[in-house]
Structure formats: structure tokens, C-alpha cells
């Protein structure tokens, strides 16, 4: 009971308050940003509206500078529940296109990152030569190469899902590799000495000590990696003039200044991100609980 009450007053109520505040500020911003445009329009038309009528006008423009929350919600509802799943206008369809590239790239990137981390931990030459480059390359804005990778792969005949997925792979592999090197090295000397007194082989140390010890690091890094994967897939959809995916919706919205559509696509992207991160989070918790972590 007490835990429940702590959760309500300590977490839920403050979070809800902040969310409500964001919506209120959003509505306010819609008045402030759309107002001048309407005033301008009215001056030319020779009309004036005051008070509530004016405010309602700012919240119901067809192509507003800042769409009001309910306009975005209505558009989001229309493009998800209001159209067929296979329709080109369905945000669920576009989200799925982006998500499939994200997941494929994430899976490849995670596998690659784990393999590289295991090699780095076992081969001193790789540790000294490759690891510094991996760490440095995290400081480089690697997304900048996205357009080139897409065009390069198109030039050698690789199109569709794979190029986007490869950008996701590229973005997700770095955090996993770095996090797993840390995780595989996390066993303290006491545990390593213990394994030595058992004359354990390198493979046994890896399976029985290094890998179990790295599990918390693994989930922490794939949480970063999956968010990066999604960004990679979205950005990967920009330069191709892609026909499908959240990135293509953003691009189309920006061509026609359809702010409502852009916001609806952003909401779809955000929901994908929250779903993915939550999924990783829950899996991580379940696995760690099975491995005896304190709850």
C-alpha cells in the first residue's frame, strides 16, 4: 500500500503534471505562433475576430505554423485507424517499414558489436589497435555518411530495406561494442583468480564468468543502440527520396509545409521509439531478475 502511494505521489502525479503542462504550453504556443498569420490574413480580408473566436481560429488552421495538439491527434487517428493498413497514407504501414529496417539493422549491429567485443577482449593486438578507433568514431557525426552509403549501395544494386538497415547496423554497433568490452572486462580480479584456481579454459571463463557478468552492460548498451537504430533508419530514408517510411513522411510533409502531417509522423516515430526502448527495458529486467538481481 505504502509503495503504491509512494509511486502515485512520488512518480505518477509529477509526471502527469509535467505532461499536462507540456500540452498547455503547446496550446499557448499555437496561439502565439499562428496568431500573427491570422491577423495578417484578416487585415487583408478586412475582418477582425476577438477573444475566444480568435483563439479557436488559431487552433483550427488547415496549414498552421504550429498545429494544436488535438489537430495532431486527429490527424494521427485518421492516418492510423482511419485508413487501411496497406494504404500509402497509413502511418502504421510507414512505421512498419521503418521498424523492419530498424530491427534488422539492430540485430546485425548487436551481433557484430558482441563479436568484436569478444575478439577485442581476447586478442591484445586488437585491443590496442582497434578499440581506440571504435571509441574515437563514437565522437564523429557518423550519420553524415548516411546519404553516401545509400547512394553507394544503390550504385552496386543494393536497394530497399538493406541500405537503411546497414545505417542502423553502423549506428548500433558502436555502443554495443564499447559497452560489451566494458562488460566482459567487468569481473573483478577475485573472480578471475577463482577461475584460475579451477584451471578454467578461456572459453569456460568466457561462458561462465565474462558473459553472465556482462549482461547488465549488454542491456544498457542495446537500449542506446536501439534508439540509435531507429534514428539511423529514419535518416536513411531521407536522401533516397524514399517512398515509404517515417523519414519519407517527414520529407513529404516538409516539401508541402504540412506541419500537421509532420507532427503526426513525429508522434508515430516517438511511439516506435518508446515501444522499442520499453521492450528492451522489460526484457532486461526479466533476464536480470532470472539471474538473481535484487528487485
Amino acid at each position: 500500500m505504502i509503495a503504491m502511494r509512494d509511486f502515485l505521489t512520488g512518480r505518477l502525479v509529477p509526471v502527469l503534471t509535467i505532461l499536462v503542462a507540456i500540452v498547455v504550453i503547446w496550446y499557448g504556443a499555437a496561439i502565439g505562433l499562428n496568431g500573427p498569420v491570422i491577423r495578417d490574413f484578416e487585415k487583408r480580408a478586412g475582418e477582425t475576430s476577438e477573444g475566444m473566436a480568435f483563439i479557436l481560429k488559431t487552433w483550427s488552421q488547415p496549414k498552421p505554423t504550429m498545429p494544436a495538439p488535438h489537430q495532431v491527434a486527429a490527424a494521427f487517428w485518421k492516418y492510423t485507424a482511419g485508413v487501411k493498413l496497406t494504404s500509402n497514407r497509413s502511418l502504421i504501414y510507414h512505421s512498419w517499414v521503418t521498424l523492419s529496417a530498424t530491427l534488422l539493422g539492430f540485430a546485425l549491429g548487436t551481433a557484430l558489436g558482441v563479436v568484436i567485443a569478444i575478439s577485442i577482449v581476447h586478442v591484445p593486438a586488437l585491443d590496442k589497435s582497434l578499440l581506440p578507433w571504435i571509441i574515437t568514431s563514437q565522437t564523429v557525426p557518423i550519420l553524415a555518411v548516411a546519404p553516401m552509403i545509400i547512394v553507394l549501395l544503390a550504385a552496386i544494386g543494393v536497394t530497399g530495406l538493406l541500405p537503411k538497415a546497414l545505417i542502423s547496423t553502423y549506428l548500433s554497433f558502436f555502443p554495443v561494442a564499447v559497452g560489451m568490452v566494458k562488460g566482459l572486462r567487468s569481473p573483478d580480479t577475485l573472480h578471475m583468480d577463482l577461475m584460475r584456481t579451477y584451471s578454467a579454459s578461456r572459453a569456460q571463463v568466457l561462458w561462465k564468468l565474462r558473459i553472465p557478468a556482462s549482461v547488465p552492460f549488454f542491456f544498457a548498451s542495446i537500449k542506446v543502440a536501439i534508439a540509435a537504430s531507429l534514428i539511423g533508419a529514419i535518416v536513411g530514408e531521407l536522401p533516397t527520396g524514399a517512398v515509404a517510411g517515417i523519414g519519407s513522411k517527414l520529407l513529404a510533409g516538409s516539401y508541402y509545409s504540412q506541419t500537421i502531417d509532420i507532427f503526426a509522423a513525429l508522434i508515430a516515430g516517438s511511439i516506435c521509439a518508446i515501444l522499442l526502448v520499453t521492450l528492451v527495458d522489460i526484457t532486461g529486467r526479466l533476464v536480470e531478475r532470472r539471474m538473481g538481481a535484487k528487485t
Partner: protein
């Protein structure tokens, strides 16, 4: 005990070196004599590296032999684009194996002096980087990979030299204007909001989970909105950077301010210190590693934000603009030049922050 100590890199170099003899001469402009010289260097060095010599002597032999062979091989490609035969690539593989052996020897050296350790920690990755360039150059030019697919590093370097004014203009537009302005506004406001929210427990309790969630969202997607609001010039890119850098700073500062231990806070209470005194003397110093973490994350995010936002429309200058248009024109050497610039800027930015962090948080256990 025999005087020979075989290792797989040297053995493989020996085998590939011998294979290269079946493919003489290596390229159209490389004579048989020059080709034989390369093979001879590789074979001799491979054999020497299997003798029981001191590690330093081995390292010197391997360093000289592998890099001299590589230099000859790359020189042999002059006016011989795409004419390299299998002998050439076998010799290249052999010299690369020697370089791998060199890295292995250097990594296994045990040094006690900190200076020697640090030098090795710099030299080994440098050799790795140099060999990436050597292999890239030799493979693209030797095998005749079309420029539009993957230009060799030498032509990227040439492009950087001839396009310094374009690169400088792009740098000013993207980094000096968009990134710096956005970064400063975004991180400062994130910090200020965190410090103010921290005054009220309720606000901090609500902002932390929301901020954490927002930090995981693809915020880059607001770029088209910002372009509509603030126009094509750098202001819209700076706005994207502000939004992208605000939340990591907010979340990290809040977490850092909450990281103070009970004992330290109780100690400050026994002194009768007020809120701002506790903040200045205890909680901000403790929060510094968190704040620097956000500053470092933000340095990368800011560059990404500014470059990607330019894909949504810009005046005809800027790194993101250049990348997307030159990709369209298949001028990949220019694209690579911009990527090199972005890499240098990114690592310098990060490096400066890491240096500042060392100076400010010198007391942190990770620096001992």
C-alpha cells in the same frame, strides 16, 4: 631450444609472399625487378621475425619492412590504375600480415615506465589507421574501383587541399553558426531548468522520467518543422541543435544533483548551510561528471543535428548541404572530404571537452 619461434602471421606472410612470385610483374608499370624486391623484403622480414630476437629489434625490422614494401607497392600503381594482378594483392597481403605481426609484437611488450606505455598506446592505433589507408589506397587503385564508388584516400586528400575555401565556408555555416549557437543555448538552458527544477522536488520528480523518455526519441525529426519556422538559413539548424541538446543536459544535471550522498548532505546541514551554499559547495561539484557526460554526448548530437537538418533545405552552403548535393552528383571525393572534416571537428570538440573535464573533475576516482 631452437633459435626459431614460428608465429602464424609470419608463416602466412611467407606463404603469400611465395604465392606472389607466381604473378610477376605486379602491375603494368612495375618492372619484374621492383616486384621481386618487394617479395624479397617481405620474405626476409618474415623469416627474421621468426628468429629469437629482442622484441625491439623485431619491431624495428617489421616496421621498416612492412611499410617500405607498402610504399613500393603503392608507388607501383602510378599510371597503372586497375592493372594489378593477383601477385600484387598477394604481396600486399603479405606486407599487411607483417604489419599485423608488428602490432602484435608491440601489444605484447611489457613496459613499466608510464611514458613508454603511453607512447605504445598512441603508436599501435596509429599503425592500424595507417594500414586502413594503405589497404584502401592499394585496393581501390590496384583493382580499379570506379571513383564514383569509392575514391582512394590520395584523391580525397587532393580534393581537401584544392577545396579549402569551400570546406571553410561550410565549416563556418554549419559548425560556427548552427552548432555552436545551438549547443550553447541548448546546454545552458537545460542546465538552468535543471537547477531551478531541482529547487522543487515535485518538478524534478516529474521532469526526470519525461526527460529520459524524450532523450530516447528521434528528435532529429523536428528538423522539417524548424525549417518551416525559422527559414532555410542557420537559425533553423541552431534551433534543431537547441532541442536536441536540451534534454540530455536536463536529465544528466538532474541525476547529478541527486547523486550526493546522505552523509555529505547531513554534514552540510550540521554547518547550517543554505540551499545555494549546499548547491555551490557540494552538489554542483558532485554533479560535474554527469554534466560533462551530457556536454560530451551533446557535442556529437549537435553536429549530427546540424548536418541532418541541412538535408531538409539550406542556402547553398553547409556541410550537410554539400554532402547531400555532391552525393547526387556522384562527386564522392568531395563527400569524403566533408566527412573527414566532420570527423576532425567531432573528435576535436569531444577532445577539448574531455580535457576540460579532466581539469574540472581531477578529483574523480577514474583519473587516479
Amino acid at each position: 631450444m631452437s633459435a626459431v619461434r614460428p608465429n602464424w602471421q609470419a608463416l602466412a606472410a611467407l606463404v603469400t609472399g611465395l604465392i606472389s612470385l607466381a604473378g610477376l610483374p605486379f602491375t603494368a608499370t612495375m618492372g619484374t625487378g621492383a616486384s621481386l624486391l618487394v617479395t624479397a623484403i617481405v620474405l626476409v622480414a618474415a623469416i627474421l621475425s621468426m628468429l629469437k630476437l629482442r622484441p625491439v629489434a623485431q619491431a624495428i625490422i617489421l616496421a621498416v619492412a612492412s611499410h617500405f614494401a607498402a610504399w613500393l607497392l603503392i608507388g607501383g600503381l602510378a599510371d597503372a590504375f586497375g592493372t594489378a594482378g593477383f601477385g600484387y594483392f598477394a604481396a600486399l597481403a603479405a606486407s599487411w600480415l607483417l604489419a599485423w605481426r608488428l602490432v602484435t609484437v608491440l601489444s605484447e611488450m611489457k613496459f613499466i615506465a608510464p611514458v613508454a606505455k603511453r607512447t605504445i598506446a598512441l603508436i599501435v592505433p596509429a599503425i592500424f589507421g595507417i594500414w586502413i589507408l594503405i589497404l584502401w589506397e592499394a585496393l581501390t587503385r590496384g583493382a580499379g574501383v570506379p571513383f564514383v564508388l569509392l575514391p582512394p584516400p590520395s584523391s580525397i586528400g587532393a580534393r581537401i587541399v584544392t577545396s579549402t575555401n569551400i570546406l571553410a565556408a561550410d565549416f563556418v555555416q554549419t559548425v560556427v553558426k548552427a552548432v555552436l549557437v545551438g549547443y550553447i543555448i541548448g546546454t545552458f538552458s537545460g542546465f538552468l531548468v535543471a537547477v531551478m527544477a531541482d529547487r522543487f522536488r515535485f518538478l524534478a520528480a516529474g521532469l526526470l522520467p519525461v526527460g529520459n523518455m524524450v532523450a530516447a526519441l528521434p528528435m532529429i525529426g523536428i528538423a522539417p518543422i524548424m525549417v518551416i519556422w525559422f527559414g532555410f538559413d542557420w537559425q533553423s539548424k541552431a534551433a534543431v541543435v537547441v532541442v536536441m541538446t536540451f534534454f540530455p543536459m536536463l536529465v544528466n544535471t538532474l541525476a547529478g544533483l541527486a547523486a550526493t550522498g546522505h552523509m555529505e548532505r547531513d554534514l552540510m546541514r550540521t554547518y547550517g548551510a543554505g540551499h545555494w551554499q549546499v548547491l555551490a559547495k557540494l552538489r554542483l561539484p558532485v554533479a560535474m561528471p554527469f554534466i560533462f557526460n551530457a556536454l560530451k554526448i551533446n557535442s556529437t548530437l549537435a553536429l549530427i543535428g546540424a548536418i541532418v537538418a541541412e538535408f531538409f533545405g539550406t542556402p547553398v552552403v553547409g556541410m550537410g548541404f554539400r554532402i547531400s548535393t555532391e552525393v547526387g552528383r556522384m562527386n564522392l571525393d568531395m563527400v569524403w572530404a566533408e566527412i573527414a572534416l566532420a570527423a576532425v571537428v567531432g573528435s576535436l570538440f569531444y577532445g577539448l571537452l574531455a580535457l576540460a573535464e579532466r581539469i574540472v573533475t581531477f578529483w574523480h576516482p577514474s583519473y587516479r
